[in-house]
């Protein structure tokens, strides 16, 4: 006998931002923002503070109007549709439960507006609260619940209306680290179970990379790159993305010809846009792309070794004053203790370069 899913799966919805601009006075919060979100996927919007993530989400929810461009949901322009007709389930950053209603009534609120009978409402609210792991707290009021529990109720409340798109605006940022990771995994599980198209706004890259099908990296109101987490990490399209996602070393180098750069006494292939030969550039390299060998002739010294389980991250100082990070497997950490003189080189893989001004 197969268990019935607690909540009916929601048919995925497609969302398209086409050249969307939103201007607040002199600020261009969104500036020619274009993005397609596929039915049923979890898309994370990642970017520094003030880059327009919340604005993008609020436009989709209908709290705000576009200045120009188009916003399509399942191919239909929704710019004229008022908030309360859009069927977008939103979970807010700040606690947003109705303080005078119990958890059950909070979850049932949207159903009540849709004319569900009392018994129907109670049953569905109960199922949803069970889905978010709160069946023991249905009668509690918001002020009797922890922050994490309140955000779970908010999630259940947003899901109760069978939203076309689930919108999450940094729902975890007010929670402590442990609850955050736990809830993050749970949101992903529920999202996969229901198949609801989801937009998740965050400025925490770990959160974005670990949860999302695709991550859209934003900068100054525009989309820099939107790809699967692994692609974003391994093949960042721009130096901004490369630096924003994960950790990056910056090594001074010089372009040799159109496809290679000279870094110290090593020549490595260059990727992406490469400036003219002879240009001084910064070469971007991940810590795991830095090779370290203990060597008395090396020109760097290990300063700090931080144990991360399988890998240990070394912070090294080169004689020319450049700081370097490298991840080495932890069983080698013994021979590379702080104070060890080491020789450093790059893995022979294409690297991104940026001119100091860009």
């Amino acid at each position: 006998m197969t268990a019935e899913p607690a909540v009916a799966t929601i048919e995925g919805t497609r969302v398209e931002y086409l050249d969307v601009t939103r201007v607040f006075g002199a600020t261009r919060a969104l500036d020619g923002f274009t993005l397609q979100i596929e039915p049923g996927e979890l898309l994370a919007l990642l970017g520094p503070s003030g880059c327009g993530k919340t604005t993008a989400l609020r436009l989709l929810a209908g709290f705000d109007q576009l200045s120009s461009g188009q916003l399509l949901i399942d191919g239909r322009d929704v710019s004229r549709q008022p908030v309360n007709k859009r069927d977008m389930g939103m979970v807010f950053q700040s606690y947003s439960l109705f303080p005078t209603m119990s958890a059950r009534d909070n979850v049932g609120f949207g159903l009540r507006l849709r004319g569900a009978s009392t018994s129907d409402r109670r049953r569905r609210a109960g199922e949803l609260l069970e889905l978010v792991g709160l069946s023991a707290h249905t009668e509690k009021y918001p002020h009797q619940m922890s922050g994490g529990q309140q955000q779970r109720v908010a999630l259940a409340r947003a899901l109760a209306i069978q939203p076309r798109v689930l919108l999450l605006d940094e729902p975890l940022s007010a929670l402590d680290a442990k609850v955050r990771t736990q809830l993050r995994d749970e949101i992903r599980r529920i999202q996969l179970e229901l198949g609801v198209t989801t937009v998740f706004v965050t400025h925490d890259q770990e959160e974005a990379l670990s949860m999302a099908d695709r991550v859209g990296v934003m900068r100054a109101g525009q989309l820099e790159q939107c790809d699967a987490p692994s692609v974003l990490y391994q093949r960042p399209a721009t130096p901004f993305v490369a630096e924003f996602v994960g950790t990056m070393n910056h090594l001074p180098g010089v372009v040799r010809d159109g496809s290679t750069v000279q870094v110290g006494d090593q020549s490595v292939p260059a990727d992406g846009q490469v400036p003219l030969s002879g240009t001084a550039v910064s070469v971007l390299a991940r810590p795991e792309a830095v090779l370290v060998e203990a060597s008395v002739e090396g020109d760097a010294v290990v300063q700090v070794a931080t144990f991360f389980g399988a890998v240990t991250r070394l912070r090294m100082l080169r004689s020319d004053g450049v700081e370097l990070l490298a991840d080495v497997s932890s069983h080698r950490a013994g021979e590379l203790a702080p104070g060890t003189r080491v020789a450093v080189s790059l893995v022979d893989r294409p690297v991104l370069v940026r001119t100091p001004s860009s």
């Binding site: 908030v83 309360n84 700040s94 209306i161």
Partner: protein, 300 residues
């Protein structure tokens, strides 16, 4: 876990705990003194009035001031008029002010300074000036060109010499207090997010106001209503000048014949206001998750 932490914290800073306890002990006599002075200032006159209302040097103590008013001529009419005026004032105030303030709070935050200034005007303009202005306007006979227009209808209604006119004035008079009460509620809660959450879940504006805003702001809405109501129960000048006879006007006139009854009734109306206040405090205190009156703070 929690207990362990708090014990550890406590033993880590014992001097601080002792200091604060000692300073609190030093403060205590002052607190008592201030309380006593304040109590004397407020309760003294009330007690004196009470004594006056029951004591007569010829006949001794009797309570006719508290029993005789039912039969006093005109009391019923006057008191009913005051109650109805109070209710009308509260209703008009809330219907007018809650949506307005919500709009200002959510949509036009920059207009707040203007609305606030405007709400203070009744404190600056003497009630006499206000009421004389109103009297002149409603006695304006109008010109024929207004005939058949809504202006004429409204003027006719106002000139009908209905006591309802007074409640319109009282709404204005109560504005400084009702504005403040509602504003405090709006600022102290996360109404903006709650409204957005409700809209997002599909609520229309009336539903938002009725099911989310009013319950959330329950305490301050009740406060605003109570302040407006109390003002109506005690207002004399305007009613007198416009020739109406609600409770305060009746009371002043009646006092000419029986001073003790007048004082007794004043005390009763004071008590009525207090009972209302305490009822509201009780109701607000029981509502789950809402701000409570300071003296009803829960310890759990």
């Amino acid at each position: 876990m929690v207990a362990v932490t708090s014990v550890a914290a406590g033993s880590a800073n014992p001097p601080e705990v002792v200091t604060s306890r000692a300073s609190r002990r030093r403060l205590r006599p002052w607190r008592g003194l201030i309380l006593a002075v304040a109590a004397l200032y407020f309760v003294g006159p009330v007690l004196a009035a009470f004594w006056f209302s029951i004591h007569n040097s010829h006949t001794g103590i009797d309570f006719h001031a508290y029993t005789g008013f039912f039969s006093a001529q005109g009391f019923g009419t006057a008191f009913r008029m005051s109650l109805l005026l109070g209710l009308a004032t509260v209703l008009i105030t809330l219907i007018l002010m809650v949506p307005t303030m919500l709009l200002v709070h959510l949509r036009y935050p920059r207009a707040r300074a203007w609305v606030e200034t405007f709400s203070l005007l009744p404190l600056v303009i003497p009630p006499v000036a206000l009421v004389v202005g109103v009297r002149d306007i409603i006695s304006f006979t109008g010109e024929d060109r207004f005939l058949g227009t809504p202006v004429a209808t409204v003027m006719n209604f106002l000139q009908g010499n209905q006591p309802w006119l007074l409640s319109l004035l009282y709404v204005v008079m109560a504005l400084p207090f009702t504005y403040r009460a509602l504003d405090a509620g709006l600022r102290g809660s996360s109404v903006t997010t709650l409204v957005e959450a409700a809209r997002n879940l599909g609520a229309s504006w009336p539903v938002v106001v009725w099911r989310v805003v009013l319950p959330t702001l329950r305490t301050s809405v009740l406060n605003a209503g109570l302040l407006a109501f109390a003002l109506v129960l005690g207002e004399y000048t305007m009613a007198k000048i416009l020739n109406f006879s609600p409770f305060p006007v009746w009371l002043a006139r009646f006092g000419d014949t029986d001073g003790q009854l007048q004082v007794g009734l004043s005390l009763l109306s004071l008590a009525l206001t207090w009972v209302l206040l305490l009822t509201i405090a009780g109701v607000a205190g029981r509502a789950p998750g809402t701000a409570r009156f300071p003296f009803r703070r829960r310890t759990s």
